[in-house]
């Protein structure tokens, strides 16, 4: 039995006409000799009556001051997929197909107990196999699983898988069922060279590697979640990204060694993030590592993500998500890092106190704290650590396989952005990508310019620099 897992996203199941189109894809697969296993997301996107965000709002609106318990939040979020699964199974039944709706738990998806961001520990596929043998089309809830029974949760607890959860469900089921392939159906006809909303000239890739699509997804493209790509890669399951609304062939995602695999240098241009760039001037080479560690410790304690780290002899710079910037600023402003000396310095000081100071208007805590330190100034040197911020930043990335082995990609990026007078605040690179931190207001221009540079100057017809 050749099993094909087909996953349909929210826009593919948001209304009856779309569900019928999706059902046709399932029927076509069956007619082609596959045993389809369907995975569905919740119906519609934010604002739709049964979308996950809508369901969450029902809970949060009860008392905005009291956050819902994680377990109950997951039960509520799982409802969106349960409704969608039942509706889709019934849609198939009404047109004469033997479909059966399964929750994540019923499908044998066992997760760890991290509510809201659970990881799949195991899939017990025997029930799905049994249903397939009986001629059913299993329709499985994406985005959810169940924990093993424990003393705390006697019958297990419903969990959700976090961002991209339905893609992850589809890929993991594909691996567990040893499927011939996993098809991710969405509202675009494959993996694009850029966000088509920003770049009308963006092309659909015929083929790309697991690594490329995982990198594209990590760097902001929303076409398939990186967890799904990584599972498919680790288990060598052929993955396709296709449109529910067309018969276009979509994008085949495969390994480097696969037949017809393309050795492409530049795969796409992506953008992601609403960020704030923080720069701290730490004017002491000797004490800088100690001060930096306290910054990291403070951010970690508050659960603030920091990235795009940059060191110099006298400064530390990093980005924080804009949503976490107020927390980061409140923590850093007025923060004092004491550094004791082994012996008194030439002025008789026994310690240095480093105090963080944001620019005027953002330095309330500093202005309160600083006068309190005057009492110790005879024995302690007080050193200001000026903090400057660049708000409203974002990241534009060029996905470039073999970047670290092939020279010249960065210079093309920098030249294109510099010629367009788009300031680059910082850069970062991986084996697969180069990213530039720029002003959010420039993102559309930056993506278009880089797309033109790498895809519209007469390179190969399916990606840059083939």
């Amino acid at each position: 039995m050749k099993i094909l897992v087909q996953k349909f996203g929210g826009t593919s199941v948001d209304r009856h006409e779309h569900r019928v189109l999706a059902a046709r894809k399932v029927i076509q697969a069956q007619e082609a000799g596959f045993a389809p296993v369907v995975v569905v997301s919740a119906i519609g996107r934010a604002g739709a009556p049964y979308a996950t965000d809508t369901l969450v709002k029902v809970l949060k609106d009860i008392d905005p001051q009291v956050p819902p318990a994680p377990r109950e939040m997951d039960m509520m979020m799982a409802c969106g997929e349960i409704i969608s699964t039942v509706v889709f199974a019934h849609t198939l039944q009404t047109i004469g197909y033997n479909a059966i709706a399964l929750s994540g738990g019923q499908a044998g998806i066992i997760t760890d107990p991290e509510f809201g961001n659970a990881r799949i520990l195991e899939i017990r596929p025997h029930y799905i196999h049994k249903l397939l043998e009986q001629g059913y089309i299993p329709v499985v809830c994406g985005f959810q699983g169940i924990t093993e029974p424990t003393d705390e949760y006697e019958h297990g607890a419903i969990t959700t898988l976090g961002r991209g959860g339905s893609d992850t469900t589809a890929s993991a089921l594909g691996a567990a069922l040893n499927a011939a392939g996993v098809e991710i159906y969405t509202d675009v006809d494959g993996v694009k060279t850029a966000d088509p909303d920003l770049v009308p000239a963006a092309r659909t890739l015929d083929i790309c590697t697991y690594q490329e699509v995982a990198e594209i997804a990590h760097q902001g493209a929303k076409v398939v979640h990186p967890r799904a790509a990584e599972i498919a890669m680790d288990h060598n399951i052929p993955l396709w990204v296709k449109s529910t609304f067309s018969d276009a062939p979509g994008t085949r995602i495969t390994g480097y060694g696969a037949p017809n695999a393309i050795t492409r240098r530049v795969t796409g241009i992506t953008h992601t993030g609403k960020l704030v760039y923080i720069r701290l001037e730490i004017d002491s080479a000797d004490h800088k590592p100690t001060v930096e560690r306290e910054v990291y410790r403070m951010m970690a304690t508050a659960g603030v993500s920091i990235f795009l780290l940059t060191f110099s002899e006298s400064a530390l710079s990093f980005c924080v998500p804009r949503s976490q910037y107020p927390v980061a600023r409140d923590l850093l402003d007025g923060m004092v890092v004491p550094v004791e000396l082994n012996k008194a310095d030439h002025e008789g000081k026994l310690a240095y106190y480093y105090i963080f100071k944001f620019s005027e208007g953002l330095d309330l805590a500093y202005r309160v704290q600083r006068p309190l330190l005057t009492a110790v100034e005879k024995r302690v040197r007080i050193v200001d650590v000026p903090a400057s911020v660049v708000e409203n930043c974002t990241i534009v990335s060029v996905i470039a396989s073999r970047y670290r082995k092939v020279p010249g990609v960065m210079v093309r990026i920098m030249r294109a952005l510099t010629d367009a007078r788009i300031p680059v605040y910082q850069t970062a690179d991986t084996e697969m990508s180069v990213s530039c931190l720029i002003s959010e207001s420039e993102i559309q221009r930056a993506v278009r310019i880089l797309h033109a540079e790498f895809f519209e100057k007469g390179f190969g017809s399916n990606g840059g620099d083939e």
């Binding site: 590592p289 659960g303 850069t427």
Partner: protein, 179 residues
């Protein structure tokens, strides 16, 4: 100070990559360049000049970091001579060293993990290894260290993340001919 329990070591999973730090990769013979670009007015032009020069002699660079008065980058040690020669033609002040190595701390969904940077900094501090440059991505944090500190750094990192010695990979910066 209380620090929340961190998901620092990978748990065994059947279908998904584990949470947390899963291993280290060490790359030896790495060089580092510090190139003075001066003030604001022509800084971008000088950065372009540097990158163009290096590309013209097929020297790949990485960990490129932009600073107010200089730009820094890493490269394979074998390329340093070539890089130095071409950069001399730019007239810019260049400082270079080759006695370095890179240790990359690998994790799935690195950016969802809070506190990894702190743990890395603590481990390297314990090892007496100064971080000369750092780069981070969704799946790794890369630290440029003095090569003679790598053994201690790896030992402290393994201990900090509860990893066995088998989780260390040696890698290299491979060369490709294509320009």
């Amino acid at each position: 100070m209380d620090v929340p329990e961190l998901t620092s070591t990978a748990s065994k999973v059947s279908f998904e990559r584990g949470r947390g730090v899963s291993g280290l990769t060490v790359i030896r013979d790495v060089a580092h360049l510090v190139i003075q670009t001066g003030g604001e007015s022509d800084r971008s032009d000088k950065i372009l000049q540097v990158l163009s020069s290096l590309a013209s002699v097929n020297v790949p660079v990485f960990l490129i970091k932009l600073h107010r008065t200089h730009v820094t980058m890493a490269l394979a040690g074998r390329d340093l001579q070539r890089a130095h020669e071409v950069l001399e033609t730019t007239g810019l002040e260049v400082t270079a060293r080759r006695d370095l190595a890179l240790v990359a701390i690998r994790a799935a969904s690195m950016r969802d993990l809070h506190g990894v940077i702190m743990m890395i900094a603590d481990a390297l501090f314990e090892a007496g290894a100064q971080i000369l440059e750092v780069g981070d991505s969704h799946d790794s944090v890369q630290c440029l260290l003095e090569a003679n500190k790598i053994a201690d750094a790896v030992k402290c990192l393994l201990s900090k993340f509860n990893l066995g010695a088998g989780r260390v990979q040696e890698s290299s910066i491979e060369a490709e001919d294509e320009a």
